[in-house]
Amino acid sequence: MASDDFNRIDSSILGPNWFAQCGRLGVRDAEVFLVFVTTESGHPGTSYYIGVVPPNDQYSQVEVRAIGANLYRGATVRGSGYLVTAPVAAVHQGNVYVIFWASSGAGQGLYKYVAGVPTLIQAITPAALAVGDVIRLNIVGTTLQCFLNNVQQGTDQTDASLAAGNPGITSSQIVAGIVLDNWQGGAIPSSWFPIQVRSGRTIPQLVASGMSG
């Protein structure tokens, strides 16, 4: 398990253990600060942790430090790519699973970004996001689970697009400001098992003999 409380001097970047996938998250007042706002495209500031090599089954959780309508906060898993162009990548071009929540606003839910293209795969609106809430996203195999304060929100979601990557954080808002704090992620603790992972059901035998179509 890796963690970061961001208790260090102000900086325009999160630090050497973080990879800025899109936009720019930095540190201010020992919290995560959204430095660069991609106002034109609206693409969120997303960074993932590269201080350790995580297993493919992983989680990411982070504490919300500021809320508002259409101010989306989230945890991410299996982030990979994209090589940042100096000084920042204004457009998301990487791969990552994201849970986006706000105090209110359209489009809250579980997303995947493949080559930077976002797809909403489950609409999930938590009761009411508040300062101090902890957002968590798990992935085991191809099963994603979203949590708010350790309570699952929505239902188990299957997606097979992204097989590997790193856990991280994301934030989107229309003005720069403090957004998140106290991140942790990595291998899913054994105490969280058994995670509900689909066992599958009997399916028709279609091509066992002669490749009939």
Binding site: H92, G109, Q122, A123, I124, T142, G154, A163, R201, I203
Partner: protein, 222 residues
């Protein structure tokens, strides 16, 4: 008197709410993709899942989950909806609505309809008979969809390019495309050894679907 009226109103509202919730059932559909603009950018979503999509008052809220068919223009959509919402959704010409309960066998009248509509969406379905349940049909569809997702994630390409169809043989697609299919299957630890040059894409997808792990959509295991 005012208190009595308030209490009665509350009871009636509660009754309607309870009735509406009791009518909710998870139902499955195949729908196209659309792009919507959200505060953080343009996003692909299943068609008809956004407020107002089917008129004033239409709002599926957070009652849906979906699996996209990779880069093909299709979602497998599950919705906890009311019968009225189901009727509205099923009436759309670009929606394939799966009859419920999905534990029922495919009816004789539905076989050819399912085959035609699924194959029209590049999903192999010539195997469907009245001996299969709708859940078994969805189980194969979802596995093919999941494979397409992996293919998309690894190659950022759709399964069907250059005019390829379900009937296209492996030896009729470019070498690079053959390698992409094989490498994606192998990355998922699937046995690809029975695929030959004359195997059709339909047969490849069914071979793969039978080896893919199960999946869960909106709480239903397949």
């Amino acid at each position: 008197m005012r208190q009595v009226t308030f209490a009665l109103t509350a009871l009636i509202l509660l009754a309607f709410t309870t009735l509406a919730e009791a009518q909710l059932a998870v139902r499955f559909y195949l729908v196209p993709k659309v792009v919507v603009t959200l505060p953080f950018g343009d996003v692909l979503v299943p068609k008809y899942t956004q407020p107002g999509d089917l008129g004033v008052g239409w709002d599926l809220d957070n009652r849906w989950s979906a699996m996209d068919y990779g880069l093909e223009d299709l979602f497998l959509l599950a919705v906890d909806n009311t019968p009225a919402e189901h009727t509205s959704l099923a009436a759309q010409v670009d929606v394939i609505a799966v009859p419920s309960p999905i534990s029922d066998n495919v009816s004789a009248a539905a076989v050819s309809v399912i085959q035609t509509r699924l194959e029209g969406a590049n999903l192999p379905a010539s195997w469907v008979t009245t001996g299969h349940t709708y859940q078994q049909v969805l189980a194969i569809v979802g596995r093919v969809v999941a494979f397409a997702q992996a293919y998309h994630g690894q190659h950022n390409l759709p399964l069907f390019t250059g005019g390829a169809t379900l009937n296209t043989q492996i030896n009729q697609i470019p070498q690079a495309a053959r390698q992409r299919l094989q490498s994606t299957a192998q990355s998922l630890n699937l046995d690809y050894s029975s695929v030959t040059s004359t195997t059709t894409i339909r047969q490849v997808l069914l071979l793969i679907a039978q080896q893919m792990p199960g999946f869960t959509l909106r709480g239903v295991q397949f």
